[in-house]
């Protein structure tokens, strides 16, 4: 079945360093839609960015991700982490019916 894997449960960074959160997926669909949702403390998840185009970089709020169908990956990156980026990040896959979420990566950015 469809699944999403986020290998890091916890990532701790120093402010100013680059961010990379890993996401790989499995699906039978040849044209999957991939998403990153962010959940700040005591808030609900909200969309950060999404993509369905192979090898095209998608950007939003300083974050970017590129869907690579060849490697079934959709890693989230940012060039310079900010304290306000501390949150729980979910990678998600749409199978045209529902959205399946990965287990989440908690990002903590320290001064």
């Amino acid at each position: 079945g469809d699944s999403v894997t986020q290998t890091e449960g916890l990532v701790t960074l120093t402010e100013g360093l680059p961010v990379m959160l890993n996401c790989t997926y499995q699906t039978i669909y040849s044209n999957p839609f991939l998403f990153w949702y962010v959940q700040h403390l005591n808030e609900s998840p909200r969309l950060l960015l999404k993509s369905f185009t192979d090898n095209k970089r998608t950007e939003h709020q300083g974050f970017h991700a590129t869907l690579h169908k060849s490697s079934s990956s959709f890693h989230l990156q940012k060039s310079s982490a900010q304290l306000s980026d501390s949150a729980l990040y979910y990678c998600a896959l749409s199978n045209y019916n529902v959205l399946y979420f990965g287990s989440g990566t908690k990002l903590t950015v320290e001064p």
Binding site: N97, V98, L99, S103, G104
Partner: protein, 115 residues
């Protein structure tokens, strides 16, 4: 700006009781969902409704039953709660169903604690 409203915010109850959660969206969306977020922050789909019709029913115990009176409302009833039901229940909506690129808009959640 909140557009998916959930009540109550918190609910504490004892094993075996019945509970009901309400959700309303004012976005004019056709599709609504219930997700469960457990203590490890795993976020799993439970149900999906499109225009009052049940579309998706994941492997969920029978004591869970969704109810939709119209496309703007989706409630969740749990008959005879068990300790493993303790979680945050998140309601969400999207503009359409079957559109893979649809964005989900989440409510603030209902935190259930079963003693």
């Amino acid at each position: 700006e909140t557009a998916v409203f959930q009540t109550p915010n918190y609910h504490v109850t004892q094993v075996g009781n019945e509970v009901s959660f309400n959700c309303k969206q004012t976005l004019g969306h056709d599709t609504m969902y219930w997700y469960k977020q457990d203590s490890k922050k795993l976020l799993k789909i439970m149900f999906s409704y499109n225009n009052k019709q049940l579309i998706v029913n994941e492997t969920v115990p029978r004591r869970f039953s969704p109810q939709s009176s119209d496309k703007a409302h989706l409630n969740l009833r749990i008959k005879s709660v068990e300790p493993e039901d303790s979680a945050v229940y998140l309601c969400a909506s999207s503009r359409d169903w079957g559109g893979a690129a649809e964005t989900l808009y989440f409510g603030s959640g209902t935190r259930l604690t079963v003693l």
